[in-house]
Amino acid sequence: MGETLRSWKELPLSALPFKLSTEFKTGDWRTFRPVVDQEKCTRCLLCWVYCPDMSIVWDGQRISVNYDYCKGCGICARECPVKAIEMVKE
């Protein structure tokens, strides 16, 4: 009678997130954007090490900022030993 209930063995094991968060852009949180001066940059990659949002990209030659995700925290600019990154108001 009516629909048969699923037994516990048929239920999903848990909530399963199934999309990568890269589909969710956090760049619009930003008030200040980091701008890199490629002349000053020594490619030490400290900004890459410290960025909480994996938004510094290293292609083997130079760094760049992925503004899709960068939240503008300013850690990269603060930690850059040669002040090659400047925070500029959006």
Binding site: F24, W29, M54, C73
Partner: protein
């Protein structure tokens, strides 16, 4: 001393990240820096277990996940027992010839609430049973995800919403629980402290913790700009001040031996580098009230506490 592990950051930075962007941790939060550095130090298949807390909530907001590795969240209080279960299952499957990997790294990430308080008995049990896993405590010194409530990891004098500084109390009235010493007391193979600012030291410790046979525990300081009240850009500087003032000394306990590492070793060798604890406190709004004349004695009390622990460490590490 064993040979130093070296990480080539210019090579590692070319690999796809194991913790993906698009997570919703606050701008400037130290927790994702800790998680990303830890995962960067792994070189085997890795399974991550996450206790409830900011890192877990903000990296897995349905239907999204930021984890590019197998990941499980069970409950707030049982991350260490979940890791124990995973390790036991892998052992059983291996015995039956049903598991394809020789070695798998199991890493737990848990906050201070999930470690000092609600998860302590599951952690202690797992350490006592001797499961082979690495437990990384990211310590932001309060229950941040629910709005900055004091925990066993909150230090003396800190303002939180449940230890509000005002006419009745000057912030939290108790000291921080010595959580890493509690791990050491279990005589597990590896225990260490770390900060994301001292990243190479941290990554080496992660690798060591994964390589030992049996449980390992790393206590990582995880400044929270929202709860500690500082600018989002200062996270790494706050870590450096914590170490420079000996508020948070860097050390490791390996096979029964104590060792200071990185900046803390430098301070031990040259005590003039040690800064007064005030320098760590004054950059954070959660300690603002301590600088009022009537609360100044608390800064002295914190300094005495820091000094006593530091002196004790110098003795344990054989420097004094």
């Amino acid at each position: 001393m064993s040979g130093k592990i070296v990480f080539n950051i210019r090579e590692l930075a070319k690999r796809p990240p194991k913790l993906l962007p698009g997570h919703r941790l606050c701008a400037g939060c130290a927790a994702p820096i800790i998680a990303k550095l830890a995962l960067l130090a792994t070189d085997r298949p890795t399974i991550v277990v996450n206790a409830t807390g900011c890192l877990e909530v903000a990296t897995t907001i349905f239907p999204y996940t930021s984890w590019n590795v197998p990941w499980i969240h069970n409950a707030f209080e049982n991350a260490a027992s979940t890791a124990s279960g995973i390790e036991a299952v892998i052992k059983a499957l291996k015995k039956k010839g049903k598991y394809k990997y020789e070695n798998v790294d199991i890493i737990v990430f848990a906050g201070d609430g999930g470690t000092y308080d609600i998860g302590l008995q599951s952690l202690s049990g797992a350490l006592e049973r001797g499961h082979d896993f690495l437990y990384i405590l990211y310590d932001n010194e309060a229950y941040m995800n629910t709005g900055i409530q004091r925990s066993g990891g909150t230090p003396l004098g800190a303002w939180t919403t449940t230890s509000p500084a005002g006419r009745v109390i000057p912030g939290k009235t108790q000291h921080k629980k010595p959580i890493a010493d509690i791990a050491v007391a279990h005589r597990i193979p590896y225990v260490a402290t770390a900060t994301p600012a001292h990243w190479m030291d941290f990554m080496r410790k992660v690798r060591k913790g994964l390589d030992v046979n049996g449980p390992a525990f790393i206590h990582a300081l995880s400044p929270c700009d929202r709860g500690w009240r500082f600018d989002t850009s200062e996270t790494i500087e706050v870590c450096k001040l914590a170490v420079d003032t000996c508020y948070f000394p860097l050390w490791e306990f390996e096979n029964g031996e104590w060792r200071l590492t990185d900046r803390s070793l430098a301070i031990a060798r040259n005590p003039r580098l040690k800064k007064p604890v005030e320098e760590f406190l004054k950059v954070q709004g959660r300690f603002k009230h301590l600088f009022k004349p009537e609360n100044r004695h608390l800064i002295e009390e914190i300094q005495r506490h820091v000094d006593a622990i530091w002196e004790d460490l110098l003795e344990r590490t054989g420097i004094k």
